[in-house]
Symmetry: C2
DNA sequence: TTGTACGCGTTATCAA
DNA sequence: TTGATAACGCGTACAA
């Protein structure tokens, strides 16, 4: 409320320097048409008064904010942090700033965030949220806000997307396993409410098994290392073998630790795979076989594409990242 | 440039509904003094035209943005992501949105971000960047922007801070170790350019050793799991014992993995401690003795304090989090 | 209850 | 090279 009074405006600078505010504006924006003499005089008074332009007013006048909206689930995952880091790196390089819209678990919440994105007048948006449907994204697009959608195949006049190949890699993993005489039955670890990335993998997992007529299992766990560890410690008191495919490193590590702490051997008795692998798959012991994707690169690519989209220079509006299976010590091979 | 034309303004809504724009404004802000009849009429045309208010113009008129600036280093660390998550959670709960200002390694860069924070007209800021000095923070304060500074003891009219007790815990760890007859010489892992948190710990490490007249070592490593692993694999080809204090889990795990992969035993031959522990200290094997702090809680507390500061209701402008030593299997005890 | 008119801090288009 | 002046989209006293 009273910041107002403290804040030096362009008008006050103009008055103090004995010029019009138009001239001050020119100096700020480093346009030509200003005498060297007046320029230095203005610059000096700017410094003396401690004047900083108001980004708000600038944005209102130019219709550009240099802000990019990023919609992500609030989940605290390493791979999301990595992606955000990639986005942020490129944004910084290109002079943009990121505004974070973190969504909760519900679709309503995600929609409310879309509203906020529109209101906030960002120059563009990167959306990575599984709760949103195609129509929701269309909505943001109808306000002509350039948007890159991650993990959803949507392309439009002002929309591009970045996708992954987890499903295909998973299918190959499964078929290769049985083709090479794998003996364990596979169990897919289902995490409630964990989005379409996992859902898609689960469907491919089931389809692949049905195709080759193999038994499979689905198990539900909470999306927490501690609880999964506890659950599997009980589980391994009874069951002594299995091949587990988990959503991400922490969950896979929980299963593996529960196994080894129960006296079982990995990978001889228990095999484990992590779908969304991060660097931690390589750090834990045994190291975990996982599907690796450079999420920072995903973020960077998305941001580069968004910038091109803003400039209306984006040619290929769809990009696909190939996850690759990295076999480590948590599986036999 | 041409978003402009597409965007429906309050004026167009007023015209379409046959009222003045003041009335529309009242409807938007849910103020009273509007007939039920006109209210519904206005609301209906708002929906029909797909009108969304411009946050920019609102902010300019009210001098409030509902944006909080967050200044953090670009480093991709788990504990920073955790903290950010805590901030974001509370911000969301209180109707704020986060604008991210990620700084690089240099002080200049951090200063440039401070500039941007001021220009961006946020309602408040949370600063967690080691590069900044006290005077730099004062600067932002002179623009009367409420600020919470993390890991720096600064208090002022519009400034509060949140700090930690890593140093004290580390000193106790060291003294206890020798008091109980610890035989290894300790080595502090110095990471170049890793900020004052680590610097402070290093000074305490040295001071504690000098106090009790013990030998100690300092080793330089790069802030990378892979390179540290390589370096220590070479190191352990020659040295067969040691007690290592590393900055964070990844580095500690690199040392520990290099040791075990070289045939050394942890903790019998090699002992390892992580200063800034995250949940991964508990996931790797052997689990790593570490100093634990709930960084999400740090973020939440900071945001709560900031909100109070904005409302001028913050009583205690300084808060201290106590790190606690969690002894795990990477050290003897 | 509704409308008028001004202010918020800039940029940008003309004249001068 | 400069300086008025009109946008930009909205909030809000004040008047009607």
């Amino acid at each position: 409320m009273d910041n107002l009074k403290d804040r030096v405006t362009i008008y006050q600078v103009a008055q103090a320097a004995g010029v019009s505010l138009a001239t001050v504006s020119r100096v700020i924006n480093k346009q030509g048409n200003v005498t060297e003499a007046t320029r230095t005089r203005v610059e000096e008074t700017i410094k003396r008064l401690g004047y900083k332009p108001s980004g708000l007013a600038q944005a209102l006048a130019t219709n550009r904010t240099t802000n990019i909206g990023v919609v992500i689930p609030s989940a605290n995952y390493v791979y999301i942090a990595n992606m955000l880091n990639g986005v942020s790196e490129v944004a910084k390089e290109k002079g943009f700033v990121l505004t974070l819209f973190t969504t909760g678990r519900s679709r309503e919440d995600a929609l409310a965030m879309i509203e906020k994105v529109i209101v906030s007048h960002v120059d563009g948006a990167i959306i990575f949220d599984d709760e949103l449907d195609e129509e929701d994204v269309e909505k943001i697009n109808s306000y002509s806000c350039p948007t890159i959608v991650i993990n959803k195949k949507i392309v439009g006049e002002r929309t591009g997307c970045v996708n992954f190949s987890y499903g295909a890699v998973l299918e190959k993993l499964i078929k290769d396993y049985y083709a090479k005489g794998g003996e364990n039955e596979m169990t897919f670890i289902h995490v409630h409410n964990s989005g379409r990335l996992l859902g898609h993998c689960e469907r491919r997992f089931i389809a692949a098994h049905q195709e080759i007529n193999k038994e499979y299992h689905i198990m539900n766990v909470d999306d927490s290392y501690a609880r999964t560890y506890t659950d599997f410690t009980q589980y391994f008191a009874i069951h002594k073998k299995g091949y587990f495919i988990a959503y991400r490193d922490s969950i896979a590590a929980a299963i593996q630790n529960a196994a080894t702490d129960s006296g079982l051997r990995v990978p001889e008795d228990i095999e484990v795979v992590s779908l969304v692998g991060t660097k931690y798959a390589n750090i834990v012991r045994p190291s975990i076989t996982s599907m690796q994707l450079d999420w920072q690169e995903v973020g960077k690519r998305s941001m580069y594409m968004l910038i091109d989209l803003i400039k209306r220079e984006l040619e290929e509006k769809s990009y696909k990242f190939d996850a690759r299976l990295v076999e480590r010590n948590s599986t036999k091979h």
